[in-house]
Symmetry: C2
Subunit: 290 residues, 2 copies
Protein backbone atom coordinates (compact mmCIF):
# COMPACT_ATOMS: atom_id res chain seq x y z
CA UNK A 1 0.00 0.00 0.00
CA UNK A 2 1.29 3.42 -1.01
CA UNK A 3 1.04 6.36 1.40
CA UNK A 4 0.25 6.65 5.10
CA UNK A 5 -0.97 3.54 6.90
CA UNK A 6 -3.98 3.77 9.23
CA UNK A 7 -2.88 3.65 12.87
CA UNK A 8 0.81 4.24 12.16
CA UNK A 9 2.11 7.57 13.43
CA UNK A 10 5.09 9.51 12.12
CA UNK A 11 7.90 8.97 14.64
CA UNK A 12 6.63 5.57 15.73
CA UNK A 13 9.41 3.19 16.88
CA UNK A 14 9.87 -0.44 15.86
CA UNK A 15 12.42 -2.76 17.54
CA UNK A 16 13.42 -4.69 14.41
CA UNK A 17 12.70 -5.48 10.75
CA UNK A 18 10.21 -8.16 11.74
CA UNK A 19 8.12 -5.57 13.60
CA UNK A 20 8.24 -3.25 10.55
CA UNK A 21 7.11 -6.18 8.43
CA UNK A 22 4.26 -7.15 10.76
CA UNK A 23 2.96 -3.56 10.84
CA UNK A 24 3.12 -3.33 7.03
CA UNK A 25 5.35 -0.26 7.26
CA UNK A 26 8.21 -1.95 5.36
CA UNK A 27 7.39 -5.48 4.29
CA UNK A 28 10.69 -7.03 3.10
CA UNK A 29 12.85 -8.37 5.92
CA UNK A 30 16.15 -7.63 4.20
CA UNK A 31 15.73 -5.42 1.10
CA UNK A 32 15.97 -1.66 1.63
CA UNK A 33 13.36 -0.86 -1.04
CA UNK A 34 9.84 -2.30 -1.10
CA UNK A 35 8.22 -2.10 -4.53
CA UNK A 36 8.44 -2.95 -8.22
CA UNK A 37 8.67 -1.01 -11.46
CA UNK A 38 4.95 -1.61 -11.95
CA UNK A 39 3.73 -0.52 -8.50
CA UNK A 40 6.31 2.08 -7.53
CA UNK A 41 8.09 2.10 -4.17
CA UNK A 42 5.99 1.73 -1.02
CA UNK A 43 8.77 2.26 1.47
CA UNK A 44 12.52 2.39 1.99
CA UNK A 45 14.80 1.82 4.96
CA UNK A 46 17.72 4.21 5.46
CA UNK A 47 20.17 2.19 7.51
CA UNK A 48 23.64 3.24 6.52
CA UNK A 49 24.38 0.34 4.21
CA UNK A 50 25.53 2.58 1.36
CA UNK A 51 28.55 4.84 1.75
CA UNK A 52 27.09 7.42 -0.66
CA UNK A 53 23.88 8.08 1.29
CA UNK A 54 23.48 11.61 2.70
CA UNK A 55 20.87 12.52 5.31
CA UNK A 56 19.92 16.16 5.88
CA UNK A 57 16.78 15.36 7.84
CA UNK A 58 14.08 16.70 5.51
CA UNK A 59 16.20 15.82 2.48
CA UNK A 60 17.78 12.41 1.99
CA UNK A 61 20.14 11.43 -0.83
CA UNK A 62 19.33 7.74 -1.05
CA UNK A 63 21.53 5.30 -2.91
CA UNK A 64 19.76 2.65 -4.98
CA UNK A 65 20.08 -1.10 -4.62
CA UNK A 66 22.67 -3.53 -5.89
CA UNK A 67 26.36 -4.03 -6.59
CA UNK A 68 27.43 -4.51 -2.97
CA UNK A 69 29.55 -7.31 -1.64
CA UNK A 70 27.41 -8.92 1.07
CA UNK A 71 30.49 -9.56 3.23
CA UNK A 72 32.29 -6.23 3.10
CA UNK A 73 29.26 -4.02 2.25
CA UNK A 74 31.44 -2.25 -0.34
CA UNK A 75 30.35 -1.55 -3.93
CA UNK A 76 31.94 -4.14 -6.20
CA UNK A 77 29.76 -3.62 -9.33
CA UNK A 78 27.68 -1.00 -11.13
CA UNK A 79 24.08 -0.47 -10.05
CA UNK A 80 21.33 -0.73 -12.65
CA UNK A 81 17.88 0.80 -13.19
CA UNK A 82 16.65 -2.64 -14.21
CA UNK A 83 17.01 -3.67 -10.56
CA UNK A 84 13.46 -4.03 -9.27
CA UNK A 85 13.93 -1.71 -6.28
CA UNK A 86 15.65 1.01 -8.27
CA UNK A 87 13.00 0.80 -11.01
CA UNK A 88 10.36 1.13 -8.29
CA UNK A 89 11.92 4.43 -7.18
CA UNK A 90 11.95 5.68 -10.79
CA UNK A 91 8.24 4.88 -11.07
CA UNK A 92 7.60 6.77 -7.82
CA UNK A 93 9.52 9.74 -9.27
CA UNK A 94 7.58 9.69 -12.53
CA UNK A 95 4.20 9.19 -10.85
CA UNK A 96 4.83 11.57 -7.95
CA UNK A 97 4.07 8.84 -5.42
CA UNK A 98 4.95 9.37 -1.76
CA UNK A 99 7.41 6.88 -0.25
CA UNK A 100 7.35 5.83 3.43
CA UNK A 101 10.78 6.42 4.95
CA UNK A 102 12.11 4.32 7.85
CA UNK A 103 15.41 5.17 9.49
CA UNK A 104 17.49 2.54 11.28
CA UNK A 105 19.96 3.04 14.13
CA UNK A 106 22.79 1.70 11.97
CA UNK A 107 22.70 4.80 9.74
CA UNK A 108 25.64 7.05 10.50
CA UNK A 109 23.65 10.29 10.77
CA UNK A 110 22.32 12.57 13.49
CA UNK A 111 18.83 11.89 12.10
CA UNK A 112 18.95 8.15 12.85
CA UNK A 113 17.16 6.78 15.93
CA UNK A 114 19.25 5.69 18.93
CA UNK A 115 18.09 2.10 18.56
CA UNK A 116 15.90 -0.05 16.32
CA UNK A 117 13.88 1.62 13.55
CA UNK A 118 11.65 4.70 13.32
CA UNK A 119 8.96 5.53 10.73
CA UNK A 120 9.67 9.09 9.61
CA UNK A 121 6.75 9.87 7.30
CA UNK A 122 6.22 10.36 3.57
CA UNK A 123 8.86 11.68 1.23
CA UNK A 124 8.61 12.61 -2.46
CA UNK A 125 11.35 11.93 -5.02
CA UNK A 126 12.49 15.25 -6.45
CA UNK A 127 15.21 14.04 -8.82
CA UNK A 128 17.49 11.13 -9.55
CA UNK A 129 20.63 10.30 -11.43
CA UNK A 130 23.80 8.23 -11.28
CA UNK A 131 27.31 9.09 -10.19
CA UNK A 132 30.62 7.40 -9.56
CA UNK A 133 30.32 6.14 -5.99
CA UNK A 134 33.02 6.47 -3.34
CA UNK A 135 33.95 2.83 -3.89
CA UNK A 136 34.62 3.41 -7.60
CA UNK A 137 31.43 1.97 -9.12
CA UNK A 138 28.43 3.78 -10.57
CA UNK A 139 25.50 4.13 -8.16
CA UNK A 140 22.01 5.56 -8.71
CA UNK A 141 20.84 8.18 -6.27
CA UNK A 142 17.43 9.60 -5.46
CA UNK A 143 16.73 12.95 -3.79
CA UNK A 144 13.90 12.45 -1.28
CA UNK A 145 12.10 15.49 0.17
CA UNK A 146 9.88 15.30 3.26
CA UNK A 147 6.29 16.01 2.23
CA UNK A 148 5.02 16.86 5.70
CA UNK A 149 7.59 19.47 6.69
CA UNK A 150 7.82 22.00 3.88
CA UNK A 151 8.73 24.76 6.34
CA UNK A 152 11.89 22.87 7.31
CA UNK A 153 12.81 22.39 3.66
CA UNK A 154 12.62 26.15 3.42
CA UNK A 155 14.94 26.51 6.43
CA UNK A 156 17.40 24.09 4.85
CA UNK A 157 17.26 26.25 1.77
CA UNK A 158 18.15 29.39 3.68
CA UNK A 159 21.03 27.53 5.31
CA UNK A 160 22.80 27.32 1.99
CA UNK A 161 21.27 24.34 0.27
CA UNK A 162 19.88 25.17 -3.16
CA UNK A 163 16.29 26.32 -3.58
CA UNK A 164 13.96 23.65 -2.30
CA UNK A 165 11.15 25.93 -1.15
CA UNK A 166 7.84 24.18 -1.58
CA UNK A 167 4.27 25.27 -1.77
CA UNK A 168 2.95 25.99 1.68
CA UNK A 169 6.24 27.34 2.89
CA UNK A 170 7.13 31.02 3.17
CA UNK A 171 10.15 31.10 0.92
CA UNK A 172 12.76 33.73 1.57
CA UNK A 173 13.34 34.15 -2.10
CA UNK A 174 10.54 34.22 -4.62
CA UNK A 175 10.13 30.69 -5.90
CA UNK A 176 6.72 30.12 -7.41
CA UNK A 177 5.29 26.71 -8.12
CA UNK A 178 3.17 25.80 -11.08
CA UNK A 179 1.55 22.85 -12.79
CA UNK A 180 0.93 20.61 -9.83
CA UNK A 181 -0.37 17.44 -11.44
CA UNK A 182 -2.61 15.42 -9.17
CA UNK A 183 -2.31 11.70 -9.47
CA UNK A 184 -5.11 9.67 -7.93
CA UNK A 185 -5.85 5.99 -8.11
CA UNK A 186 -8.41 6.76 -10.79
CA UNK A 187 -5.75 8.63 -12.75
CA UNK A 188 -3.39 5.69 -12.52
CA UNK A 189 -6.06 3.35 -13.92
CA UNK A 190 -6.71 5.54 -16.95
CA UNK A 191 -2.99 5.91 -17.67
CA UNK A 192 -2.55 2.12 -17.42
CA UNK A 193 -5.38 1.50 -19.93
CA UNK A 194 -3.65 3.77 -22.45
CA UNK A 195 -0.14 2.55 -21.53
CA UNK A 196 0.92 6.20 -21.20
CA UNK A 197 -0.03 7.08 -24.81
CA UNK A 198 -1.52 10.56 -25.16
CA UNK A 199 -5.18 10.32 -26.22
CA UNK A 200 -4.79 13.46 -28.33
CA UNK A 201 -1.45 13.14 -30.14
CA UNK A 202 -0.34 9.57 -29.41
CA UNK A 203 2.95 10.67 -27.81
CA UNK A 204 4.42 8.34 -25.18
CA UNK A 205 7.38 9.70 -23.26
CA UNK A 206 9.97 6.97 -22.73
CA UNK A 207 12.67 7.59 -20.14
CA UNK A 208 15.31 5.34 -18.56
CA UNK A 209 13.34 3.09 -16.22
CA UNK A 210 9.80 3.92 -17.33
CA UNK A 211 7.23 5.81 -19.38
CA UNK A 212 5.34 8.98 -18.51
CA UNK A 213 1.93 10.51 -19.09
CA UNK A 214 -0.46 12.69 -17.12
CA UNK A 215 -4.06 12.34 -16.08
CA UNK A 216 -6.21 15.32 -17.04
CA UNK A 217 -9.57 15.84 -15.43
CA UNK A 218 -12.06 16.83 -18.13
CA UNK A 219 -14.44 18.73 -15.84
CA UNK A 220 -11.92 20.34 -13.49
CA UNK A 221 -11.75 19.34 -9.82
CA UNK A 222 -12.81 21.84 -7.19
CA UNK A 223 -15.17 24.79 -7.21
CA UNK A 224 -16.50 26.29 -9.40
CA UNK A 225 -16.40 23.28 -11.77
CA UNK A 226 -16.61 20.48 -9.16
CA UNK A 227 -15.79 17.63 -11.51
CA UNK A 228 -15.55 14.20 -9.88
CA UNK A 229 -12.46 11.98 -9.72
CA UNK A 230 -13.87 9.11 -11.80
CA UNK A 231 -12.44 7.35 -14.87
CA UNK A 232 -15.18 8.81 -17.10
CA UNK A 233 -13.84 12.27 -16.24
CA UNK A 234 -10.13 11.62 -16.88
CA UNK A 235 -8.00 11.64 -20.04
CA UNK A 236 -4.50 10.23 -20.45
CA UNK A 237 -2.46 13.05 -22.02
CA UNK A 238 1.14 13.99 -22.63
CA UNK A 239 2.20 17.05 -20.60
CA UNK A 240 2.00 19.34 -23.67
CA UNK A 241 -1.57 18.35 -24.58
CA UNK A 242 -2.47 18.55 -20.86
CA UNK A 243 -1.43 22.21 -20.73
CA UNK A 244 -3.41 22.93 -23.90
CA UNK A 245 -6.50 21.07 -22.66
CA UNK A 246 -6.53 22.71 -19.20
CA UNK A 247 -6.25 26.19 -20.73
CA UNK A 248 -8.92 25.63 -23.38
CA UNK A 249 -6.64 25.53 -26.44
CA UNK A 250 -8.00 22.00 -26.99
CA UNK A 251 -11.53 20.81 -26.32
CA UNK A 252 -13.77 17.92 -27.36
CA UNK A 253 -16.90 17.77 -29.48
CA UNK A 254 -19.69 15.39 -28.47
CA UNK A 255 -18.43 12.93 -31.12
CA UNK A 256 -15.06 12.98 -29.25
CA UNK A 257 -13.22 14.75 -32.04
CA UNK A 258 -10.45 16.93 -30.59
CA UNK A 259 -10.85 20.58 -31.58
CA UNK A 260 -8.47 23.56 -31.49
CA UNK A 261 -10.60 26.66 -31.94
CA UNK A 262 -12.61 25.96 -35.11
CA UNK A 263 -10.17 23.32 -36.43
CA UNK A 264 -10.45 19.56 -36.12
CA UNK A 265 -7.27 18.05 -34.65
CA UNK A 266 -8.52 14.49 -35.07
CA UNK A 267 -10.40 11.79 -33.21
CA UNK A 268 -9.62 11.19 -29.54
CA UNK A 269 -7.75 7.86 -29.12
CA UNK A 270 -10.10 5.53 -27.30
CA UNK A 271 -9.96 2.27 -25.37
CA UNK A 272 -13.08 0.17 -24.90
CA UNK A 273 -12.41 -0.17 -21.15
CA UNK A 274 -12.37 3.60 -20.79
CA UNK A 275 -15.85 5.09 -21.10
CA UNK A 276 -15.70 8.88 -21.28
CA UNK A 277 -18.85 10.60 -20.08
CA UNK A 278 -20.27 13.33 -22.30
CA UNK A 279 -21.57 15.41 -19.40
CA UNK A 280 -17.94 16.14 -18.45
CA UNK A 281 -16.93 16.80 -22.06
CA UNK A 282 -19.76 19.34 -22.32
CA UNK A 283 -18.84 20.96 -19.02
CA UNK A 284 -15.22 21.42 -20.12
CA UNK A 285 -16.29 22.75 -23.51
CA UNK A 286 -18.69 25.22 -21.95
CA UNK A 287 -15.76 26.89 -20.19
CA UNK A 288 -14.24 27.85 -23.53
CA UNK A 289 -17.04 27.91 -26.12
CA UNK A 290 -20.32 29.75 -26.18
CA UNK B 1 6.28 43.49 -7.38
CA UNK B 2 5.06 39.88 -7.29
CA UNK B 3 4.84 37.97 -4.01
CA UNK B 4 5.03 39.01 -0.36
CA UNK B 5 6.04 42.58 0.43
CA UNK B 6 8.64 43.27 3.13
CA UNK B 7 7.00 44.63 6.27
CA UNK B 8 3.45 43.70 5.24
CA UNK B 9 1.87 40.97 7.38
CA UNK B 10 -0.93 38.64 6.37
CA UNK B 11 -4.08 39.92 8.07
CA UNK B 12 -2.91 43.54 8.11
CA UNK B 13 -5.74 46.08 7.90
CA UNK B 14 -5.95 49.12 5.62
CA UNK B 15 -8.66 51.80 5.99
CA UNK B 16 -9.11 52.47 2.27
CA UNK B 17 -7.81 51.98 -1.28
CA UNK B 18 -5.44 54.92 -0.90
CA UNK B 19 -3.72 53.20 2.05
CA UNK B 20 -3.43 49.97 0.02
CA UNK B 21 -1.90 52.01 -2.80
CA UNK B 22 0.57 53.79 -0.54
CA UNK B 23 1.75 50.50 1.00
CA UNK B 24 2.18 48.97 -2.47
CA UNK B 25 -0.15 46.10 -1.56
CA UNK B 26 -2.61 46.94 -4.33
CA UNK B 27 -1.55 49.89 -6.43
CA UNK B 28 -4.58 50.84 -8.57
CA UNK B 29 -7.11 53.04 -6.77
CA UNK B 30 -10.13 51.65 -8.63
CA UNK B 31 -9.31 48.50 -10.65
CA UNK B 32 -9.72 45.17 -8.90
CA UNK B 33 -6.74 43.56 -10.69
CA UNK B 34 -3.21 44.99 -10.69
CA UNK B 35 -1.10 43.67 -13.56
CA UNK B 36 -0.73 43.16 -17.30
CA UNK B 37 -0.50 40.21 -19.65
CA UNK B 38 3.26 40.69 -19.72
CA UNK B 39 3.90 40.91 -15.97
CA UNK B 40 1.13 38.74 -14.56
CA UNK B 41 -1.14 39.86 -11.73
CA UNK B 42 0.47 41.34 -8.63
CA UNK B 43 -2.69 41.62 -6.57
CA UNK B 44 -6.46 41.58 -6.62
CA UNK B 45 -9.17 43.09 -4.43
CA UNK B 46 -12.19 40.94 -3.59
CA UNK B 47 -14.88 43.47 -2.78
CA UNK B 48 -18.19 42.05 -3.88
CA UNK B 49 -18.44 43.93 -7.12
CA UNK B 50 -19.22 40.82 -9.17
CA UNK B 51 -22.33 38.76 -8.49
CA UNK B 52 -20.60 35.55 -9.60
CA UNK B 53 -17.77 35.69 -7.05
CA UNK B 54 -17.69 32.89 -4.46
CA UNK B 55 -15.55 33.02 -1.33
CA UNK B 56 -14.79 29.83 0.63
CA UNK B 57 -11.96 31.34 2.64
CA UNK B 58 -8.97 29.36 1.38
CA UNK B 59 -10.58 29.07 -2.07
CA UNK B 60 -11.97 32.05 -3.96
CA UNK B 61 -13.83 31.94 -7.26
CA UNK B 62 -12.90 35.34 -8.63
CA UNK B 63 -14.69 36.91 -11.54
CA UNK B 64 -12.56 38.72 -14.10
CA UNK B 65 -12.81 42.34 -15.12
CA UNK B 66 -15.11 44.10 -17.54
CA UNK B 67 -18.63 44.24 -18.92
CA UNK B 68 -20.23 45.88 -15.91
CA UNK B 69 -22.46 48.93 -15.97
CA UNK B 70 -20.72 51.45 -13.68
CA UNK B 71 -24.07 52.72 -12.43
CA UNK B 72 -25.92 49.49 -11.66
CA UNK B 73 -22.85 47.21 -11.21
CA UNK B 74 -24.66 44.62 -13.35
CA UNK B 75 -23.04 42.74 -16.25
CA UNK B 76 -24.20 44.32 -19.50
CA UNK B 77 -21.58 42.80 -21.85
CA UNK B 78 -19.31 39.76 -22.28
CA UNK B 79 -15.95 39.76 -20.55
CA UNK B 80 -12.80 39.16 -22.62
CA UNK B 81 -9.37 37.65 -22.04
CA UNK B 82 -7.89 40.56 -23.98
CA UNK B 83 -8.79 42.77 -21.03
CA UNK B 84 -5.47 43.66 -19.42
CA UNK B 85 -6.47 42.54 -15.93
CA UNK B 86 -7.93 39.23 -17.08
CA UNK B 87 -4.89 38.56 -19.28
CA UNK B 88 -2.71 39.26 -16.22
CA UNK B 89 -4.53 36.52 -14.31
CA UNK B 90 -4.04 34.08 -17.21
CA UNK B 91 -0.31 34.83 -17.17
CA UNK B 92 -0.23 34.20 -13.42
CA UNK B 93 -1.99 30.88 -14.02
CA UNK B 94 0.44 29.84 -16.75
CA UNK B 95 3.52 30.97 -14.84
CA UNK B 96 2.38 29.75 -11.44
CA UNK B 97 2.82 33.20 -9.94
CA UNK B 98 1.38 33.94 -6.49
CA UNK B 99 -1.21 36.73 -6.33
CA UNK B 100 -1.70 38.99 -3.30
CA UNK B 101 -5.33 38.89 -2.21
CA UNK B 102 -7.03 41.80 -0.47
CA UNK B 103 -10.57 41.51 0.83
CA UNK B 104 -12.84 44.52 1.25
CA UNK B 105 -15.73 44.99 3.68
CA UNK B 106 -18.14 45.39 0.77
CA UNK B 107 -17.79 41.72 -0.17
CA UNK B 108 -20.89 39.79 0.82
CA UNK B 109 -19.07 36.92 2.51
CA UNK B 110 -18.23 35.76 6.04
CA UNK B 111 -14.55 36.01 5.04
CA UNK B 112 -14.68 39.77 4.42
CA UNK B 113 -13.35 42.18 7.07
CA UNK B 114 -15.85 44.18 9.15
CA UNK B 115 -14.55 47.45 7.72
CA UNK B 116 -11.98 48.73 5.26
CA UNK B 117 -9.59 46.26 3.60
CA UNK B 118 -7.45 43.37 4.78
CA UNK B 119 -4.40 41.79 3.12
CA UNK B 120 -5.04 38.03 3.21
CA UNK B 121 -1.81 36.59 1.79
CA UNK B 122 -0.72 34.84 -1.39
CA UNK B 123 -3.02 32.70 -3.54
CA UNK B 124 -2.22 30.58 -6.58
CA UNK B 125 -4.50 30.25 -9.61
CA UNK B 126 -5.49 26.60 -9.95
CA UNK B 127 -7.78 26.84 -12.98
CA UNK B 128 -9.84 29.26 -15.02
CA UNK B 129 -12.63 29.29 -17.54
CA UNK B 130 -15.72 31.17 -18.61
CA UNK B 131 -19.38 30.66 -17.85
CA UNK B 132 -22.70 32.36 -18.37
CA UNK B 133 -22.92 34.81 -15.47
CA UNK B 134 -26.00 35.34 -13.32
CA UNK B 135 -26.74 38.53 -15.24
CA UNK B 136 -26.83 36.66 -18.59
CA UNK B 137 -23.42 37.57 -20.00
CA UNK B 138 -20.28 35.46 -20.23
CA UNK B 139 -17.78 36.06 -17.43
CA UNK B 140 -14.29 34.64 -16.89
CA UNK B 141 -13.58 33.06 -13.54
CA UNK B 142 -10.38 32.11 -11.76
CA UNK B 143 -10.05 29.57 -8.95
CA UNK B 144 -7.64 30.99 -6.37
CA UNK B 145 -6.17 28.69 -3.68
CA UNK B 146 -4.45 30.00 -0.54
CA UNK B 147 -0.76 29.07 -0.69
CA UNK B 148 -0.06 29.53 3.02
CA UNK B 149 -2.84 27.36 4.44
CA UNK B 150 -2.69 24.01 2.68
CA UNK B 151 -4.05 22.25 5.78
CA UNK B 152 -7.27 24.27 5.54
CA UNK B 153 -7.60 23.45 1.85
CA UNK B 154 -7.48 19.85 2.94
CA UNK B 155 -10.25 20.47 5.49
CA UNK B 156 -12.36 22.15 2.83
CA UNK B 157 -11.78 19.07 0.70
CA UNK B 158 -13.02 16.70 3.40
CA UNK B 159 -16.09 18.90 3.88
CA UNK B 160 -17.32 17.93 0.45
CA UNK B 161 -15.48 20.19 -1.94
CA UNK B 162 -13.55 18.28 -4.57
CA UNK B 163 -9.95 17.21 -4.00
CA UNK B 164 -7.80 20.23 -3.37
CA UNK B 165 -5.23 18.63 -1.08
CA UNK B 166 -1.88 20.24 -1.65
CA UNK B 167 1.66 19.28 -0.93
CA UNK B 168 2.50 19.84 2.72
CA UNK B 169 -0.95 18.86 3.85
CA UNK B 170 -1.90 15.47 5.23
CA UNK B 171 -4.62 14.58 2.76
CA UNK B 172 -7.35 12.25 3.96
CA UNK B 173 -7.43 10.50 0.66
CA UNK B 174 -4.33 9.58 -1.25
CA UNK B 175 -3.63 12.45 -3.61
CA UNK B 176 -0.04 12.50 -4.75
CA UNK B 177 1.56 15.48 -6.37
CA UNK B 178 4.12 15.36 -9.13
CA UNK B 179 6.02 17.58 -11.50
CA UNK B 180 6.28 20.72 -9.44
CA UNK B 181 7.90 23.18 -11.81
CA UNK B 182 9.83 25.92 -10.08
CA UNK B 183 9.70 29.29 -11.71
CA UNK B 184 12.30 31.78 -10.58
CA UNK B 185 13.17 35.21 -11.91
CA UNK B 186 16.08 33.60 -13.74
CA UNK B 187 13.71 31.08 -15.30
CA UNK B 188 11.41 33.86 -16.47
CA UNK B 189 14.33 35.64 -18.18
CA UNK B 190 15.36 32.55 -20.12
CA UNK B 191 11.80 31.85 -21.22
CA UNK B 192 11.44 35.46 -22.38
CA UNK B 193 14.61 35.25 -24.48
CA UNK B 194 13.22 32.19 -26.28
CA UNK B 195 9.67 33.56 -26.40
CA UNK B 196 8.45 30.23 -24.98
CA UNK B 197 9.92 28.17 -27.85
CA UNK B 198 11.35 24.83 -26.75
CA UNK B 199 15.12 24.80 -27.25
CA UNK B 200 14.98 21.10 -28.15
CA UNK B 201 11.97 20.66 -30.44
CA UNK B 202 10.84 24.24 -31.19
CA UNK B 203 7.34 23.68 -29.84
CA UNK B 204 5.54 26.74 -28.45
CA UNK B 205 2.28 26.06 -26.63
CA UNK B 206 -0.27 28.73 -27.50
CA UNK B 207 -3.36 28.98 -25.31
CA UNK B 208 -6.14 31.58 -25.04
CA UNK B 209 -4.49 34.56 -23.38
CA UNK B 210 -0.84 33.48 -23.56
CA UNK B 211 1.96 31.07 -24.41
CA UNK B 212 3.59 28.46 -22.20
CA UNK B 213 7.01 26.92 -21.67
CA UNK B 214 9.00 25.63 -18.72
CA UNK B 215 12.41 26.41 -17.34
CA UNK B 216 14.59 23.34 -16.84
CA UNK B 217 17.66 23.51 -14.66
CA UNK B 218 20.50 21.70 -16.43
CA UNK B 219 22.45 20.80 -13.28
CA UNK B 220 19.56 20.05 -10.93
CA UNK B 221 18.86 22.26 -7.92
CA UNK B 222 19.42 20.88 -4.44
CA UNK B 223 21.67 18.16 -3.06
CA UNK B 224 23.28 16.02 -4.37
CA UNK B 225 23.62 18.02 -7.61
CA UNK B 226 23.53 21.55 -6.15
CA UNK B 227 23.15 23.36 -9.45
CA UNK B 228 22.76 27.15 -9.18
CA UNK B 229 19.76 29.20 -10.29
CA UNK B 230 21.56 31.20 -13.00
CA UNK B 231 20.66 31.73 -16.68
CA UNK B 232 23.65 29.65 -17.80
CA UNK B 233 22.11 26.67 -16.00
CA UNK B 234 18.57 26.96 -17.40
CA UNK B 235 16.94 25.79 -20.64
CA UNK B 236 13.57 26.87 -22.04
CA UNK B 237 11.72 23.62 -22.82
CA UNK B 238 8.22 22.43 -23.61
CA UNK B 239 6.78 20.24 -20.82
CA UNK B 240 7.40 17.03 -22.82
CA UNK B 241 11.08 17.74 -23.46
CA UNK B 242 11.40 18.88 -19.82
CA UNK B 243 10.24 15.46 -18.56
CA UNK B 244 12.66 13.75 -20.95
CA UNK B 245 15.58 15.99 -19.98
CA UNK B 246 15.04 15.68 -16.22
CA UNK B 247 14.89 11.89 -16.45
CA UNK B 248 17.96 11.56 -18.67
CA UNK B 249 16.19 10.50 -21.89
CA UNK B 250 17.71 13.65 -23.43
CA UNK B 251 21.14 15.11 -22.70
CA UNK B 252 23.58 17.51 -24.33
CA UNK B 253 27.00 17.01 -25.87
CA UNK B 254 29.66 19.66 -25.33
CA UNK B 255 28.90 21.00 -28.84
CA UNK B 256 25.29 21.52 -27.61
CA UNK B 257 23.83 18.83 -29.84
CA UNK B 258 20.82 17.23 -28.18
CA UNK B 259 21.26 13.47 -27.75
CA UNK B 260 18.82 10.64 -26.99
CA UNK B 261 20.89 7.64 -25.99
CA UNK B 262 23.40 7.23 -28.84
CA UNK B 263 21.26 9.19 -31.37
CA UNK B 264 21.60 12.83 -32.36
CA UNK B 265 18.27 14.65 -32.01
CA UNK B 266 19.64 17.88 -33.45
CA UNK B 267 21.32 21.11 -32.39
CA UNK B 268 20.00 22.94 -29.33
CA UNK B 269 18.19 26.13 -30.38
CA UNK B 270 20.30 29.03 -29.16
CA UNK B 271 19.95 32.76 -28.56
CA UNK B 272 23.02 34.97 -28.37
CA UNK B 273 21.79 36.57 -25.14
CA UNK B 274 21.59 33.18 -23.47
CA UNK B 275 25.03 31.77 -22.72
CA UNK B 276 24.80 28.15 -21.57
CA UNK B 277 27.70 27.05 -19.38
CA UNK B 278 29.35 23.76 -20.26
CA UNK B 279 30.14 22.86 -16.65
CA UNK B 280 26.39 22.42 -16.08
CA UNK B 281 25.92 20.50 -19.34
CA UNK B 282 28.68 18.11 -18.25
CA UNK B 283 27.24 17.73 -14.77
CA UNK B 284 23.81 16.81 -16.19
CA UNK B 285 25.33 14.40 -18.68
CA UNK B 286 27.42 12.70 -16.00
CA UNK B 287 24.20 11.69 -14.23
CA UNK B 288 23.18 9.58 -17.23
CA UNK B 289 26.33 8.67 -19.17
CA UNK B 290 29.54 7.02 -18.06
Amino acid sequence: MIGELPGIAVGQAFPNRRALHDAGVHRPLQAGICGTRQTGAESIVVSGGYADDEDYGVVIIYTGHGGRDPETQKQVAEQSLTDSGNAALVTSYLEGFPVRVVRGAQARSPHAPAEGYRYDGLFGIASFGSKMGVDGFRVWQFRLEAMSQPEKLSELDSQGDSPVAMEGASPRKFVATQRIVRNTGVARQVKAWHVDHCQVCGTRLVVPGGTYSEAAHIQALGAPHNGPDVVGNVLCLCPNCHVLFDAGALYLRDDLVVMAGESEVGPLRLDSRHQIRLEFVRSHRSRWRQ
